[in-house]
C-alpha cells in the first residue's frame, strides 16, 4: 500500500505551502514535494497603472519583504524615466534598505528558524517564538523585539511606514532626512550592531557548541551542490542595493557577471503543462531537471548564496563573521542548506554596520533628494537583493508612463527547484520503514525553512486554485502528484 503524508500547512514561513511525502509499500520515501498553494496575479493587474504607483502597489506582494519590492520597483521607475536619483536619495534608499534587511533577518532567525535548533526535542505546541523566549530568557526576547523594532522605526522614518514604504518614486525620494531623525537612526544603528554581535554569540553558544546540531548542519541530509547567484559590488563584496549579479558554479568559480538590466540573457524560466509553477534556471547551463552539480541549471539564492558568490563583506565586523563561517566549514562555497541561518546573521551584522556608516555620512541630510524626470518614460529594470534572494522588476510603459507590461522574477521562485530537491532528500534520509513522527516531519520542514521561503512572493503570478493537489495512480500506486512543486 502506498501511503501519503501531508504536512499542511507549512508553518513558521511566509505564505501558504504544504509538503507531500509519498511512501512505498515498505514505508520508504519514493518522492517528496513542496507545493505552493495560493494565487493573486500581480504581473497582469499592474498593467494600466501609473508606473510611479508601482512602488506603492508591488510591495503588497509580500508583507515580510515589502521594502525589497518598493526599492526594486523604484529603481525600475528610475530606469523607465532615465532619472538618476541625487546622491543623498540613493544613500537614504540604501540606509532604508539595510534596515529592511535587518528586520527581515531578525524576524526569520528568531521567530521562524531558531525554535528548530533550540527546541528541537520539544512538543510542537512549544516550538515557537514564545517557547524560545521561555527557553533563552526574557532579556533576549526583549532585545529581539526592541532591535527589530528599531529596524522598523528606521524604515518608518525614511519610508513613511514601518511595513509599507511609500517614499521612493521615480528620480528619488519624497522627503529628505532631518538632523534629529539622523541622530535617532545613528543611535538605533549602534544598538543593532551590538545586537548582531549578541545574535552571532547566541548562534555559537546554542548551535555550534551543540555537537548534535553541528552534525546535523554538516550532514548530507541538508546538502546540495548547486550554482549560486547574488549581487556584488565592484570589489565582489556582498551588496543589497546596487551592483552586478555574480553567478558561481558548485566549485565556486565565476560563470557569469551581469547587469540587472541583462537578466533575460542569463535567466530563463521553464514551463510545464502539468504544473502552475515556473522554474527559473541558468540560461547558459540549461534546464536539466531537479538535480545537483555543475551540469544542472539549478541555482540557489538568499543569504548563503550571496556569501558564496562574494569574496567578502564590506564592513569590518561582518567580514570577521564571514571568515568565521567559512573557517568552520573549511572551504567555499558552503553547500550545507542549514548554514543559510548562520549566513543571515552575518548579513544582519553587515546591514547594521552599513546603517551606521550611512547615518554618519555628511551627505545623508542633504535636502536635494529628487530629480524630476525630464525624459519620456519607456522601459526599465530594477534589481535588489531581497532578504530571500535577487529580485527583478521589469516594466514597459507608454509615453505617458502608463504600464503596458510587467515581468517579475522574485527571490523565492529561484529557490523553488532546490527546495523541492531538499524536501525529497531530507524525507528520504529521515523517514525509514514507515517510522515517522512529528519531530521527523518537522526536520523535513526544516529543509524548507532554511530557505526562508516567501510564498506570498513566489505566488505573485501563479494562477491556481487552492485544492489539495491531484493524485495520479498507476497500477494502484501513486504515480504523480500535481502541481508537482
Amino acid at each position: 500500500m502506498t501511503r501519503k503524508i501531508s504536512i499542511l500547512p507549512n508553518t513558521r514561513l511566509e505564505g501558504h505551502g504544504k509538503v507531500e511525502i509519498i511512501l512505498d509499500d515498505d514505508g520508504n520515501v519514493i518522492d517528496g514535494f513542496f507545493q505552493v498553494i495560493e494565487f493573486r496575479g500581480f504581473e497582469k493587474f499592474c498593467e494600466g497603472r501609473h508606473v510611479e504607483e508601482l512602488p506603492r502597489i508591488t510591495p503588497k506582494i509580500c508583507g515580510v519583504c515589502p521594502g525589497a519590492h518598493h526599492t526594486a520597483s523604484a529603481k525600475a521607475c528610475d530606469a523607465v524615466y532615465n532619472a538618476e536619483p541625487p546622491p543623498a536619495a540613493k544613500k537614504l534608499r540604501e540606509m532604508y534598505y539595510s534596515a529592511h534587511m535587518a528586520h527581515s533577518h531578525i524576524l526569520h532567525f528568531f521567530a521562524l528558524g531558531a525554535p528548530d535548533f533550540v527546541l528541537m526535542g520539544e512538543d510542537a505546541a512549544k516550538r515557537n517564538i514564545f517557547g524560545l523566549v521561555a527557553a533563552v530568557g526574557r532579556d533576549i526576547g526583549m532585545a529581539v523585539v526592541d532591535n527589530r523594532g528599531y529596524a522598523q522605526r528606521i524604515q518608518e522614518i525614511i519610508g513613511g511606514h514601518p511595513i509599507y514604504p511609500v517614499s521612493s518614486l521615480p528620480g528619488g525620494l519624497s522627503k529628505p532626512l532631518g538632523e534629529a531623525q539622523r541622530e535617532e537612526i545613528e543611535k538605533m544603528a549602534v544598538s543593532l550592531i551590538d545586537f548582531s554581535k549578541q545574535s552571532l554569540e547566541i548562534f555559537e553558544n546554542l548551535v555550534l557548541k551543540n555537537q548534535e546540531l553541528v552534525e546535523l548542519i554538516a550532514s548530507d541530509l541538508y546538502r546540495h551542490e548547486t550554482h549560486y547567484a547574488g549581487m556584488v559590488d565592484r570589489d565582489n563584496r556582498v551588496n543589497f542595493y546596487e551592483g552586478r549579479i555574480r553567478v558561481v558554479d558548485p566549485e565556486g568559480k565565476e560563470i557569469c557577471l551581469f547587469e540587472g538590466a541583462d537578466y533575460l540573457e542569463n535567466i530563463a524560466e521553464h514551463v510545464e503543462p502539468w504544473s502552475y509553477l515556473k522554474i527559473p534556471y541558468l540560461k547558459k547551463v540549461g534546464w536539466k531537471g531537479y538535480i545537483d552539480g555543475p551540469g544542472s541549471g539549478v541555482y540557489r539564492v538568499n543569504s548563503l548564496a550571496r556569501l558564496n558568490v562574494a569574496e567578502g563583506m564590506a564592513t569590518p565586523l561582518a567580514a570577521e563573521a564571514y571568515d568565521n563561517l567559512y573557517r568552520f566549514f573549511g572551504g567555499k562555497p558552503v553547500h550545507n542548506t542549514l548554514a543559510y541561518h548562520w549566513a543571515r546573521l552575518v548579513e544582519l551584522m553587515y546591514a547594521s554596520e552599513r546603517i551606521l556608516e550611512l547615518a554618519q555620512d555628511p551627505q545623508i541630510t542633504d535636502t536635494n533628494v529628487r530629480n524630476i524626470p525630464s525624459s519620456k518614460p519607456s522601459e526599465g529594470v530594477g534589481v535588489v537583493e531581497a532578504p530571500r534572494g535577487t529580485l527583478y522588476h521589469h516594466y514597459v510603459t507608454d509615453k505617458k508612463g502608463i504600464v503596458q507590461k510587467v515581468n517579475l522574477i522574485v527571490a523565492t521562485v529561484q529557490n523553488n527547484a532546490a527546495i523541492n530537491m531538499s524536501v525529497k532528500k531530507a524525507a528520504q534520509g529521515l523517514i525509514r520503514n514507515g517510522v515517522v513522527d512529528d519531530k521527523l516531519l518537522n526536520m523535513v520542514e526544516m529543509a524548507v525553512r532554511a530557505y526562508d521561503p516567501c510564498l506570498a512572493c513566489a505566488s505573485h503570478a501563479i494562477p491556481g486554485r487552492e485544492t489539495p493537489g491531484v493524485r495520479i495512480y498507476r497500477s494502484g500506486k501513486l504515480y504523480k502528484r500535481l502541481p508537482e512543486c
Binding site: T11, K44, R127, S167, K175, K480
Partner: protein, 324 residues
C-alpha cells in the same frame, strides 16, 4: 480570569498584517499571559488537523487577514466561522479586497497568457500553458480550476468586527488588543476600528480644510510637493478627503498622498465613484463657471481611474469584476 481563546489565519494576503501584530513591540511577548493562541500558521506549529479538532463555538475570537480567492481560503474561513464566537476581518484585504482585488479587472485567461506565454523570461516556444487536463505518458493529468474573483471576507461569512488598514497602524492594533477582552465577553464594542470622519480631520497639514480650487493636477513624480500645504491643493490626488481616519496620516507625513487603505466613509455608497465626483467638482482654475470640456482637461492627469480611486476597494465597489 480565563484566557481568551484565539485563532489567526491568512487568506489571499501578503503577511504584512501578521507583521503588524509583531510591531506592537514588547507587548507581543506578554500575549500568552492573556491569550491562548490555538492556530497561527506564520508563528506556531499547529496544523490543519489541530484547527479541525477544535469544538464548534469553543474559540472566542478568530482573526482573518487577506481576501478570499481560493477554495481552501473559503473553506478555512467557514471553519473559522464555525469555531469562533466573533470573527475579525483584519486589514484592507479582508475588509474590502485590498490591492490584490485589482485583479478583478482581468479574467483568468489574461492572467495565464501573461504568466506563461508572454513573460519575456519564459522559454516556451510551443506556448505551453497549464491546462485543466493534459496528457503525459499516456495518463490524463488534471489541474485545479481558477477562482473567478477576489472577495472581501464579508461576502462569504458573517464578520463581527472590521480592522482596516494596509496594514492596520500600531495604534489601531493597540486599540484592538485593548478591546479583545470586551469582544470575547460579547460586550458592545465598535464594529469598525477606524474614525467615522475623513482623514482630512487628522491631517497635520495647515491648510487642509480651506476651500480652494485645484488648478492643475500632477502625478506625484512630476512635482516636488511642499511639506505644509494640503497635497490636493498642490494638485496631487490625495484620497484623504474620502477615506476614514485612524491611520495616523503616515504617508502624508513623508509627503506622499493617501491612497485610501482605511476604506471609504460611512455615507458613501461606492468607494471610488463619489471621490471622483468630488474631485471633478473642485478641479480647474475658475470662479463661476467652467466648461465641462475644461474639467476633462484638468482630470486628464488621471490615466488610471480604477488604480487611483479603487486601489484598495475594487471588490467592494458596485461595479467590481470583469466578466469573461
Amino acid at each position: 480570569m480565563n484566557k481568551i481563546r484565539m485563532i489567526l489565519n491568512w487568506g489571499a494576503s501578503c503577511g504584512g498584517c501578521d507583521v503588524s501584530i509583531l510591531d506592537i513591540g514588547r507587548a507581543v511577548l506578554d500575549l500568552p499571559n492573556d491569550v491562548d493562541i490555538l492556530y497561527w500558521p506564520v508563528a506556531l506549529d499547529f496544523k490543519r488537523k489541530d484547527l479541525e479538532a477544535l469544538a464548534d463555538q469553543s474559540v472566542d475570537i478568530g482573526v482573518i487577514n487577506g481576501a478570499v480567492r481560493t477554495s481552501e481560503q473559503e473553506e478555512e474561513a467557514k471553519i473559522f466561522r464555525a469555531k469562533c464566537k466573533s470573527i475579525i476581518a483584519y486589514g484592507s484585504c479582508a475588509c474590502f479586497g485590498g490591492i490584490p482585488g485589482l485583479a478583478n479587472q482581468f479574467v483568468g485567461e489574461d492572467l495565464i497568457a501573461r504568466a506563461y506565454r508572454e513573460a519575456p523570461s519564459n522559454v516556451n516556444e510551443e506556448g505551453v500553458v497549464p491546462s485543466r487536463e493534459s496528457e503525459r505518458n499516456g495518463y490524463v493529468l488534471l489541474l485545479p480550476e481558477f477562482a473567478s474573483e477576489v472577495r472581501p471576507l464579508e461576502k462569504l461569512i458573517k464578520v463581527d468586527h472590521f480592522v482596516p488598514g494596509c496594514p492596520p497602524s500600531t495604534s489601531t492594533v493597540a486599540e484592538l488588543i485593548g478591546n479583545l477582552g470586551a469582544i470575547a465577553r460579547g460586550d458592545a464594542v465598535k464594529k469598525i476600528f477606524a474614525s467615522d470622519k475623513s482623514l482630512c480631520y487628522d491631517c497635520p497639514r495647515e491648510k487642509t480644510k480651506e476651500a480652494k480650487r485645484v488648478e492643475k493636477l500632477y502625478r506625484p513624480h512630476e512635482i516636488i510637493a511642499g511639506n505644509e500645504r494640503c497635497l490636493l491643493e498642490q494638485g496631487i490626488v490625495c484620497l484623504g478627503f474620502a477615506t476614514r481616519g485612524g491611520c495616523g496620516a503616515r504617508c502624508i507625513a513623508v509627503n506622499m498622498p493617501c491612497r485610501g487603505c482605511y476604506g471609504w466613509l460611512p455615507k458613501m455608497a461606492d468607494p471610488g465613484a463619489e471621490a471622483m465626483s468630488a474631485l471633478a467638482a473642485i478641479a480647474g482654475d475658475w470662479e463661476d463657471y467652467m466648461p465641462p470640456a475644461k474639467i476633462f482637461d484638468v482630470l486628464d492627469a488621471v490615466k488610471d481611474a480604477v488604480g487611483t480611486f479603487y486601489a484598495f476597494s475594487l471588490p467592494s465597489a458596485i461595479i467590481n469584476k470583469k466578466r469573461g
